[in-house]
Each structure stands twice: as structure tokens, then as C-alpha cells.
């Protein structure tokens, strides 16, 4: 057992570091640190650079366009991208529907969709939650009724992140209304340009348009767009959620977040000393580093298990719970650091919406990001749902 990187791993780290320095889009620099809102083009510009290099989907099997990296290499890659303040890629294609398609899809589905996910040509969204199916996801009511070689879909989805940009969506639909809750659901890929789909924005507390409601009225989708067997969509849904929980821990970017807080707190004054010298603030930073280190080594243990052939199991719920709590604590500390300059709201003035200039730049988005980040303990299966998964699947209760 050894924490040290081998010479090959160090060479790989340097290669990644150099690549980022030379190829990370100039217009994106600083945006992640400042918590700026990102446009579709922002997301895609970095996505395309990584795709061109062949690094856009490190975890995918090589045969579908993955990198074939070891667990350590993947760890290094995520460390380096976070360290360089790179924006995170949209997960809906790369870490959600992509793995579902290469695991459960037909050869035709793989050939059609996987290359376009890798290239960024298709922007994906996730049609899971409904007004009456949040934590109780299996209670979903959106219906897909067979009509010849098509499904006709009717219903409503909500909290659909970035659906305003989406070319495709993966939707959980009820195909057998008489079956028990989880048994009559199918996993269906829907072209978002199909007639009958309407996307309406939901504005969240920070003023962002990030999530949407999606209404589906007589939306006709070819049967060949169903992944896996009819009424077996819950298998895909569960698989996807377990995968989602690993990435959701966000260890590398939280590490970057702590470093950033330390840098700022060291220069911000609190009386005659720095804010970082304030014993109460200081203790909160130390506790955050402590919990983040515990999370990091828990993730490393899970990854080592994965390398030894164990897939991400229900233990990944632990990563989701602790990772999301830490992400929230980071935003709390940033808002605390901002002091008076937590208050100004740079939106809704029309011209110059994004113009900074009042207070320090790092404080401009502190409050909106804090508000927005309340989502992390709610999405991806709320933390209460994760505790239920641990109780049931790990502890056998």
C-alpha cells in the first residue's frame, strides 16, 4: 500500500497539467472560482477541447471511447482539473445516460448516441422528477402508451436541469399502470425537438435559470428509443443513481474550494488580524479540511474496491451525503467571509447584469451560490433517501 505516485503517474500528472495550461479556454478562466453562471457555449468549449484530446469520458470502457486510465489516473485527472479551476462538465450525457446506454443499450443505440455524447453534439437532460414524484420517484405518472412502433408520452417532469439547451432527454415513463410502482417503468430517450414538448423555466433563489418544468403532450417517440426491456427501466434508473452518487461527492473541487477560502481569509481583515486568525473562523476551516480529508479517503477506498472489481454499491450513498454537506459548508464560509458585501445583487438591472465592481469580485456571487447550493442535499436522491438506502441495502434493516 502506497500513497506516493509512481514515476509514470507523476509523468501523467505533468502531462495533464501541461495540457490544461495550454488548452483550457481563456474565456473560462476564473469563472469556476467566482461561481459565475455558465452559458451553453462555456460548457461546450471545454467539453470539445477534452473530446479532441480523447479525455472527455475517463470512466467509460475503452471500446466506447473511454481512456483506459487506472483509478489513480482518474483521481489525478480530477485533482488537476479542479486545481486548475476548470469548470465541471455537464454530467447528463457523460456520467448518466452514457453509462446506461453502453451497459443496457442495443448496438444501434450505442452507435447512434455514444459518439454524439462524447463530441458534445447532443446536449442531454434528465426527465426523472415529477411534481408528485420527488423522493418517491417510483410514484411517477408520466405515461408512455404503445401505439404501433411508437410510444405516445403524456405527463410532466420537473427540476429538469439545463433542459432549455437540451437536444435529447432520458425519461422515466410508466408503461404498465397496473404493475407495482417500480415494475411498470421504462427508460426512454426523447428527442427534445419532438412536437408536444414544452420547456418552462424555474428561477431558483440565486436568480439562476438552471432548472425547468417539462410538459409532454402526445409526444410520439419510436419504440427503438427505449433502453433495455419494457417495464424494466427501474434497473437503468437505479444503476444511474449509484453512478451519479460517486461523482456527486465532488472531492477535488471541494479541495480547491477550501484552498480558495484559505487564500481569501488570509487577506481579509478581521480587526487587526486576518480573518483566518480569528479562532472561530479558523476552527471552521480546520473542521472542513478534516471532514473533506475523511471524504477523500473514503472515496479512495471505494475506488480501490472498484479497481478490485467491486462496482459502486450502496456505500456510495455515504459519499453523496458527506460530499453534499461539505459543498454546502464551503458556500456558508464564503458568504460569512463576504460580510457586508454578501448583500449586493448583480442581476435584474438590464444592461450590465454581470458587471462586477461593488465589493471584492469573489464576494459578488457568494450569496446566490450559497442559496443555490442548498440543492446538493436535495438532488440526486435527498440525503434522507440516501440514509434510507444505507439502512436497507447496507445494514439490512
Amino acid at each position: 500500500m502506497d500513497l506516493e505516485f509512481s514515476p509514470e503517474e507523476i509523468a501523467f500528472r505533468d502531462e495533464v497539467r501541461t495540457f490544461i495550461a495550454e488548452n483550457y479556454p481563456a474565456q473560462l478562466r476564473g469563472k469556476q472560482d467566482e461561481g459565475d453562471e455558465l452559458t451553453k457555449e462555456d460548457f461546450l468549449s471545454w467539453h470539445r477541447v477534452l473530446h479532441k484530446k480523447g479525455w472527455v469520458a475517463p470512466a467509460w470502457p475503452v471500446e466506447y471511447g473511454g481512456t483506459g486510465w487506472s483509478v489513480t489516473q482518474r483521481f489525478i485527472f480530477s485533482e488537476e482539473t479542479a486545481r486548475a479551476d476548470c469548470i465541471r462538465l455537464m454530467p447528463f450525457g457523460l456520467t448518466m445516460v452514457g453509462p446506461v446506454i453502453y451497459t443496457f443499450g442495443t448496438p444501434e443505440q450505442k452507435a447512434k448516441f455514444l459518439p454524439r455524447i462524447l463530441s458534445g453534439e447532443d446536449w442531454w437532460c434528465q426527465g426523472y422528477s415529477e411534481p408528485g414524484a420527488g423522493s418517491d420517484l417510483a410514484n411517477l405518472r408520466t405515461r408512455a402508451v404503445r401505439d404501433g412502433d411508437h410510444y405516445v408520452i403524456n405527463g410532466q417532469k420537473t427540476w429538469t436541469t439545463m433542459a432549455q439547451h437540451a437536444d435529447w432527454g432520458f425519461f422515466l415513463c410508466r408503461t404498465d399502470p397496473d404493475a407495482k410502482a417500480q415494475e411498470g417503468i421504462s427508460f426512454i430517450l426523447v428527442d427534445m425537438k419532438t412536437p408536444g414538448i414544452e420547456v418552462r423555466p424555474i428561477i431558483t433563489l440565486g436568480g439562476e435559470h438552471e432548472v425547468n418544468e417539462v410538459f409532454l403532450e402526445d409526444v410520439r417517440v419510436p419504440v427503438e428509443n427505449r433502453v433495455f426491456e419494457e417495464n424494466k427501466g427501474w434497473t437503468c434508473a437505479k444503476f444511474l443513481l449509484a453512478h451519479e452518487r460517486v461523482g456527486i461527492a465532488g472531492v477535488a473541487s471541494s479541495k480547491r474550494g477550501v484552498e480558495r477560502i484559505k487564500e481569501i481569509a488570509q487577506t481579509e481583515l478581521d480587526g487587526e488580524k486576518s480573518l483566518l486568525a480569528n479562532p472561530f473562523f479558523r476552527r471552521k476551516v480546520a473542521e472542513l479540511e478534516m471532514d473533506l480529508t475523511a471524504l477523500e479517503f473514503t472515496e479512495l477506498r471505494v475506488l480501490a474496491g472498484e479497481a478490485a472489481g467491486k462496482g459502486p454499491g450502496p456505500e456510495s450513498s455515504l459519499l453523496k451525503i458527506k460530499g453534499s454537506e461539505i459543498q454546502q459548508r464551503l458556500t456558508e464560509l464564503t458568504l460569512e467571509m463576504a460580510g457586508h458585501y454578501g448583500a449586493p445583487y448583480f442581476r435584474g438591472f438590464g444592461e450590465g447584469d454581470n458587471e462586477h465592481g461593488i465589493g471584492p469580485a469573489w464576494a459578488n456571487r457568494a450569496a446566490p451560490v450559497y442559496f443555490n447550493t442548498r440543492k446538493t442535499t436535495i438532488y440526486g436522491g435527498s440525503n434522507e433517501i440516501q440514509r434510507g438506502i444505507i439502512a436497507k441495502m447496507v445494514l439490512g434493516l
Binding site: L3, E4, E9, R282, M290, T293, L300, K322, L395
Partner: protein, 376 residues
């Protein structure tokens, strides 16, 4: 980077786990604690001379298996699972660790005796008023000819009643809290001038207040390295009890889950209640974080001193906090039976509670971490 265990390490774990499963059930442990000596010396003989497990962390030149901190972690985790009261931490991890680091004739003579099960070492470092500052010492070792004369009072010396050797921190010079002048000595526990007041500890061990009154010790008893060596040894001890905490916490989770499946109230097993399920999920998360921190601390023991100290402090602070949560939740979930001597769970809780403060509690270690890593 590689976080997998070797086959030898897996085998060591299996050997110890199997031995403890066969010999260390809760009722047997109770009998050991109640016996006049407070332990069964046959167990130590089996662990050392018969199974050879005490050789795991020592170099081959001393008759060891060539292992180190990872082997200590594995062993302590397994010992934690049965809340063993063996003097492994004091003898193998601390005594052995100090000798390995200091080297020399004393190491050549004593390490084989540890491996053979003949030497049992107790670590006499704490003092009545020193709290967790390892340099806050009033015990003195005055140079006298080629040797030293020891005077002082050491507090709560675990395993002292069983010990053949005492590993003692004492001042050869300097004032009470000064780092310079602090030294480490390995001495014969039967040296004239040593008196003990023995007592049981709340977590099942035997310990002593140890008094030194003009105890003459030879010059060769000095392990060179001073406070730096002592800090290193205590860091190793700290991650070892973190690993013990892994075994304890996971067992507390398992016992609690099992109990809530059996115990019925309101016409159903109480484990069906969501509020208890979520509490046990939290216990699981804490226990796994203990395992992660024990591993992290273990793997960082060989870093440069300041980085090592920062890592160990972070590990110990987290483990202390998480043990408290896991233990208190375990007792609460058991209800009344949890606060009796009858079930094992309370005894795990007691050891867990002592680990929290042993070699520095969470506050102490967060403060040390801050001083080392956060600029003022």
C-alpha cells in the same frame, strides 16, 4: 498510488481474526478482567511465541516479518473488534516503534524479546498536570556518572502492572514545558526505587500511577531522539488507536443493527422505525470515516515531521468526534440495556470514549493542525 493489501497482510488479518474469534468472546473477556491479574497471559503467549504475530511490524534482522505501520493498523483494527485488553499498543506499537526508530544495542536486545512475548512494555509519559503536552514534564533524569537518576510521578500508565519494561519520558534539562531537554528511556520495570499504585481502568485495562524515587538507570537506557522521537512514537500510537477505533465503531454499528432487528416495541422490530434507521445510517457513515482516517494517518506517517503531525492530528480529531457520535448513538438506540454491564455494547462504548482522549482529544489535535497549516 496503490491502496490494496498484500496477500501476506490479508493472511495476517485472517490469522488474528480467527484466533480472536476462537478465544476472545465477550464472556471470556469478562473473566479475564475479573481475574487477579486482569488478563490471561496465555493469550499474549499465543499471539507472540505461538502465532508469531508480534513479529509483523519488525525488520527481518530482528526476527520480524519486515512490515510496519500498515501491519500495525491491521492488527489494531482486529483487536478493536473484540475490545482486546492486550498490551499490544504499548508493547508492539509504542515500545517497538521507539526501539525501531532509535536503533542501537537496546533495540537489538529488546525487539527479539518483544517478538518472543518475553518483553511487555508500558509507556510512562503522562503526568498529573501535563494534559496533552508531551513536553510538559516535571519528571527528571539527572545525569549521574555514566547513568541517570529518575525522580517523578507518571499518571495513568496503561499496562504497567504487567510490564517488564517502562518507556519513560523525563527531563535531563530545561524548564517544565521546554522542548529541549526531554528524553526517552527504556528501563527495567523492577528497578529499585519504582513504586506503583495499580488500578483497573474504565475500559478494561490495568494501569498504574508510577512513582520514581532516585531510580538509578544506566546510560544505555537512553533512546536518542528527544522530543522529536517521542512525538513520532505518539503519532504512530495515535493512528494505531484510530485503527482500533475502526474495529470498535464497525462492531458497534453491527451490534446496534442486530439489536434493533430483535427488539420489538409497538408490535414491530424497532429497526423498522425510520428515525432509528437514519441514526444507524449516520453511525455507519461515521464508522467508515474512522476507517478512512485511520488509513490516511497510517499512510502519512513517513512524511516530513510537520506534514506527518498535521495528518495525524486531522485523523485523530475526526476519529475522536466520530467515535463519540457512533458510541452515543449506539447506547441511545439500545435504550436501558445499553447502560448496563450486561451487553457488550456498553464495553465498546467505554473503550471508544477512552480512545477519544488518549494522546490528545479532538480540540487538542485541531489546534495542533491549525498551528501547523493555517497561517495566522
Amino acid at each position: 498510488m496503490d491502496l490494496s493489501y498484500t496477500e501476506t497482510q490479508d493472511m495476517l488479518r485472517d490469522t488474528l481474526a480467527k484466533f480472536l474469534a476462537d478465544t476472545y468472546d465477550f464472556e471470556t473477556r469478562k473473566k479475564m478482567l475479573a481475574s487477579p491479574e486482569g488478563r490471561d497471559p496465555g493469550i499474549w503467549r499465543a499471539l507472540s511465541a505461538e502465532l508469531g504475530l508480534t513479529s509483523a511490524p519488525f525488520a527481518e534482522e530482528h526476527g520480524g516479518m519486515g512490515g510496519g505501520a500498515i501491519e500495525n493498523m491491521i492488527m489494531m483494527e482486529e483487536l478493536g473488534k473484540v475490545i482486546a485488553i492486550e498490551p499490544w499498543l504499548q508493547t508492539v506499537v509504542i515500545g517497538g516503534g521507539a526501539l525501531k526508530a532509535a536503533g542501537g544495542a537496546l533495540a537489538d536486545a529488546t525487539i527479539p524479546a518483544i517478538i518472543a512475548g518475553d518483553a511487555i512494555i508500558a509507556f510512562a509519559y503522562a503526568e498529573p498536570t501535563g494534559r496533552y503536552n508531551l513536553a510538559d514534564l516535571t519528571t527528571t533524569a539527572k545525569a549521574d556518572g555514566s547513568g541517570y537518576v529518575l525522580n517523578g510521578h507518571k499518571a495513568s500508565v496503561y499496562a504497567a502492572p504487567w510490564a517488564t519494561h517502562l518507556l519513560v519520558t523525563a527531563r535531563t534539562g530545561g524548564s517544565q514545558r521546554e522542548r529541549a531537554g526531554v528524553e526517552l528511556f527504556l528501563i527495567d520495570a523492577k528497578s529499585p526505587g519504582i513504586t506503583r499504585r495499580d488500578y483497573p481502568t474504565v475500559d478494561g485495562f490495568r494501569a498504574s500511577e508510577v512513582y520514581f524515587e532516585n531510580v538509578a538507570i544506566p546510560g544505555e537506557a537512553l533512546l536518542s531522539g528527544g522530543i522529536d522521537l517521542i512525538e513520532r512514537v505518539v503519532d504512530e500510537a495515535n493512528v494505531a488507536i484510530c485503527a482500533e477505533g475502526t474495529g470498535i465503531a464497525r462492531t458497534m454499528v453491527a451490534h446496534t443493527v442486530e439489536y434493533t432487528k430483535q427488539r420489538k416495541q409497538f408490535g414491530q422490530p424497532i429497526g423498522k422505525f425510520q428515525v432509528l434507521q437514519h441514526r444507524m445510517s449516520d453511525m455507519f457513515c461515521e464508522a467508515e470515516q474512522i476507517a478512512s482516517m485511520a488509513l490516511m494517518g497510517t499512510l502519512k506517517l513517513d512524511l516530513p515531521a510537520d506534514q506527518r503531525k498535521a495528518a495525524v492530528s486531522l485523523a485523530k480529531a475526526k476519529v475522536a468526534r466520530s467515535l463519540r457520535i457512533t458510541g452515543q448513538h449506539a447506547i441511545q438506540t439500545h435504550g436501558g440495556i445499553g447502560i448496563t454491564m450486561e451487553l457488550a455494547i456498553g464495553h465498546y462504548f467505554k473503550r471508544a470514549s477512552m480512545i477519544e482522549g488518549q494522546f490528545g482529544n479532538a480540540d487538542h489535535h485541531l489546534e495542533r493542525y491549525e498551528a501547523l497549516t493555517l497561517p495566522a
